[in-house]
């Protein structure tokens, strides 16, 4: 469903993503992990057509990212980390506008939006009576998730999707993506909440400094490195173990 081959992005002299290659079949939930600045968001932005790769290729649902960019975009949904929305639109105006970009008529869009707001425990009045600028972070994020799934895409990219969601919404969301995967959708899930990734994802890809460090089933990777947990595996691979010692040293400075 997703195939990346030597995907590379350079910003000037800095290489953000370095020849990344992987294949994700349909119906799989892939956890895309890495420390800050590892190149996760840049990779997702390349795969969603927001940023052009410097080198390498990728295909999504059989469409070439460079050649058939519009077709790729029709087949994907994306929840960006920023959670950006047009704040001077109401939630409904925003979602209806997004639906229109996929050729969905307003009545069909509203029917679908009603399903989502029921799922997220939002009221329709909130969606019509308030500008998005007045929404809480969590509410805004629910609208962004709705906007990503409204057109029923076969491939969905989530960049920190739980950010701002309350505990109930987060539980519901995890159930949602598992249901979506069972329906055959491919999910790429980038997050720093490793225990959620461990529970939800069929497979994890760990990158650092733009390079692939590990790729496989979470339990297999953990067992192979005798890490015990995904968090331990992650810190071992990305040099996070050193951070614990540094944190202890740093905490000592507060004593003086």
């Amino acid at each position: 469903m997703i195939s990346a081959h030597n995907l590379t992005k350079r910003f000037g002299y800095q290489t953000a993503v370095d020849a990344l290659s992987f294949v994700v079949p349909a119906g799989q939930i892939v956890g895309f992990l890495g420390p800050n600045g590892a190149g996760k968001s840049t990779t997702l932005k390349m795969l969603t057509g927001i940023v052009e790769p410097t080198d390498g290729t990728a295909t999504i649902c059989g469409f070439d990212l460079r050649r058939d960019t519009l077709e790729v975009k029709r087949h994907i949904g994306f929840v960006p980390e920023s959670g950006a929305v047009f704040e001077s639109l109401t939630g409904l105006e925003y979602l209806v506008m997004i639906a229109a970009l996929y050729g969905i008529p307003e009545d069909a869009a509203v029917a679908r939006i009603r399903q989502f707001i029921a799922f997220f425990d939002l009221s329709f009045e909130t969606l019509t009576d308030k500008l998005l600028g007045a929404y809480s972070k969590g509410m805004k994020h629910k609208v962004v998730i709705t906007a990503a799934l409204l057109h029923n895409p076969p491939v969905v990219f989530f960049d920190e999707p739980l950010d701002g969601l309350d505990a109930n919404a987060a539980v519901g969301f995890k159930a949602l993506i598992q249901t979506l995967a069972r329906e055959g959708k491919t999910i790429v899930y980038s997050s720093h909440i490793l225990d959620v990734v461990e529970r939800v994802c069929d497979r994890v890809i760990i990158i650092d400094k733009g390079r692939l460090l590990a790729d496989g089933r979470p339990d297999e990777l953990i067992a192979a490195r005798n890490a015990g947990t995904l968090e331990r595996l992650f810190t071992d691979l990305t040099g996070g173990a050193e951070l614990e010692r540094r944190a202890k040293d740093f905490a000592m400075t507060f004593r003086s």
């Binding site: 800095q14 940023v51 029709r74 950006a84 050729g103 679908r112």
Partner: protein
């Protein structure tokens, strides 16, 4: 919580086109603004139609000034109408186009949607064009009929003027878009933001200054240089090309007018072709550049920050900025004035009229010598008018799209906004008011103001610190703390109006004192009163506490 059925069919029965949806989106964003202080927006949002009617009503009202040109020749009337149209459209389009054409957040919202960069550009241009045409139409509404009564006009004037106005609106919008496209082409991604900001600021300031000064220059030199379509210098003024079209079709039908008309049409076609045809292909690359700007790591930045950090710790700024909070506020205000596109676009074009207005009378006045006549009479009034400069600057610096970041000030252990206001006030005085006053002094010297008359600037200068304290009295000078759409513009305008009236009254009194030989005593008295008022106001400003957030 039951999950929405992901496989339910979504077959479009009457699918709207993406272009139509984008057009509606950008028009709404254009009229409502991109960010709002949502906390204040409890009710149902007002329709954009209502806002549009209000804007067009304002422009139609402003267009009534054309009634003062009744019975003028068509060329004179048309050049006035086109100059003012260019001012209104130019400033409006230049200040909005950058945000509309290259918006960073837009990539995360629309970058992964199935729309091409060409469709995005087309939708944005359509909105810009539509707005310019509506605004130009509203402003020229009265002018259409005034032209019928022009000395050489007739019933054909409304038709010709409608045509020339449409052409000018296209020229204006095309020029702004062209400047952006050229910035993108000539300067790389690294410098794109800085260059585009500078271009936008210069364009807006140029439109404001040009349209204020040009009519005065025409009035002053026009008689000597013959305000006729065939005057060589007329070719330098874009409004003259379109006025030539009016004159050729519905006025004198002179050869010079026809030549200008042809130039206007050809140049408009050229600008449109370059902006929307030839250079439109680079728009996609421009969007990519903006998208990538967040991921790139620019080289070491040579800003004045290091120098300023040293300056605030050295006299005289160290004496003026005694506590760390006001020093931090000074540096924050300075950084935003120097680097932030949104702030620069708001502050510099906003201050341009403040600088130009006091100078305009000098273009139309002549000096007959003596202390109480000619140009010197204008000095105290103009310098008092300049007194509102810090007031306006602080008001503009208070607003920012990043106002949410200012919530940290409330979380900090400061009893109120006094120190923050003080830092911003010092930044405005040092970085904006002082250079403006120096510039103003140079211009006065150039127009022939003598050394003795320069003393007439003093009454205005003495009151500058007092004026600058006014926004601090209610804590309304905390930098970047308010959303642009959330400020009380009416209250701010009223404050400026009151200060302007006080300034003008003071100008009158100082002129009287100057002519009767009491000027030195007047200055001493004014300085004493100003010092007392300043101290009292400082106390009030220091006691201000944070107001509760709505």
């Amino acid at each position: 919580m039951s999950a929405p059925s992901p496989s339910s069919p979504l077959l479009p029965s009457r699918a709207p086109t993406p272009e139509r949806a984008l057009g509606k989106l950008f028009l709404t964003l254009f009229l409502r603004g991109r960010a709002v202080r949502g906390l204040k927006k409890a009710g149902v949002p007002k329709s954009v139609g209502w806002k549009l009617k209000l804007i067009l009503g304002f422009y139609a009202f402003a267009g009534c000034m054309a009634l003062t040109s009744l019975s003028q020749p068509v060329f004179t009337l048309a050049i006035y109408l086109h100059a003012m149209t260019l001012l209104f459209l130019g400033t409006y389009i230049a200040s909005s186009a950058g945000e509309m054409l290259f918006n960073k957040e837009e990539a995360d919202i629309l970058g992964h949607r199935p729309v091409t960069s060409k469709a995005l550009l087309r939708a944005k241009i359509q909105v810009l064009l539509r707005m310019s045409l509506w605004m130009a139409g509203a402003f020229n509404l009265v002018g259409f009929f005034v032209g019928v009564a022009a000395s050489d006009g007739g019933w054909f004037f409304p038709v010709s003027h409608a045509f020339s106005t449409v052409l000018q609106a296209l020229f204006c919008t095309g020029s702004v878009v062209l400047v952006y496209q050229l910035c993108l082409r000539w300067f790389g991604r690294e410098r794109l933001d800085t260059v585009m900001t500078a271009a936008q600021v210069l364009m807006t300031v140029g439109f404001v200054v040009g349209s204020q000064v040009a009519p005065q220059l025409i009035a002053r030199f026009g008689r000597q240089m013959h305000v006729q379509p065939d005057a060589w210098w007329m070719w330098l003024l874009p409004p003259a090309w379109f006025a030539g079209l009016d004159d050729a079709l519905a006025g004198s039908h002179g050869k010079g007018s026809w030549a200008m008309a042809v130039a206007g049409v050809l140049l408009t076609v050229l600008v449109l072709w370059l902006a929307f045809g030839k250079l439109a292909q680079t728009y996609g690359a421009g969007l990519q550049a903006v998208n990538e700007a967040t991921g790139s790591t620019p080289g070491p930045r040579k800003s004045g920050r290091g120098l300023l950090s040293q300056l605030v710790h050295a006299p005289p700024l160290r004496w003026w900025l005694r506590d760390s909070v006001s020093r931090a506020s000074f540096l924050l205000a300075t950084a935003y004035l120097m680097r932030d596109r949104d702030t620069k676009l708001r502050v510099f074009p906003g201050l341009a009229p403040m600088l130009v207005m006091p100078l305009i009378p000098f273009f139309s006045a002549s000096d007959n010598g003596g202390a109480f006549s000619g140009l010197s009479i204008l000095v105290p009034f103009s310098s008092c008018y300049l007194g509102i400069l810090p007031l306006v600057a602080l008001g503009l610096l208070e607003t920012s799209q990043q106002w949410r970041a200012a919530e940290i000030f409330r979380a900090a252990p400061t009893p109120g906004p006094a120190s923050l206001c003080h830092g911003a006030r010092v930044a405005v005085m040092c970085l904006l008011v002082l250079p403006a006053l120096l510039l103003y002094g140079v211009i006065l010297w150039l127009v022939g103001i003598g050394a003795k008359q320069f003393a007439l600037m003093l009454p205005g200068l003495i009151l500058l610190p007092v004026y600058a304290l006014i926004p601090c009295l209610r804590g309304h000078a905390v930098p970047i703390s308010q959303p642009p759409e959330g400020v009380n513009a009416a209250g701010r305008g009223l404050r400026q109006l009151v200060v302007m009236f006080v300034s003008l009254a003071l100008g009158g009194v100082s002129l009287w004192a100057f002519s009767t030989g009491w000027f030195v005593w007047f200055l001493l008295g004014e300085a004493l009163i100003a010092a007392v008022v300043y101290l009292l106001m400082s106390r009030v400003a220091a006691s201000v506490r944070w107001s509760s957030l709505e």
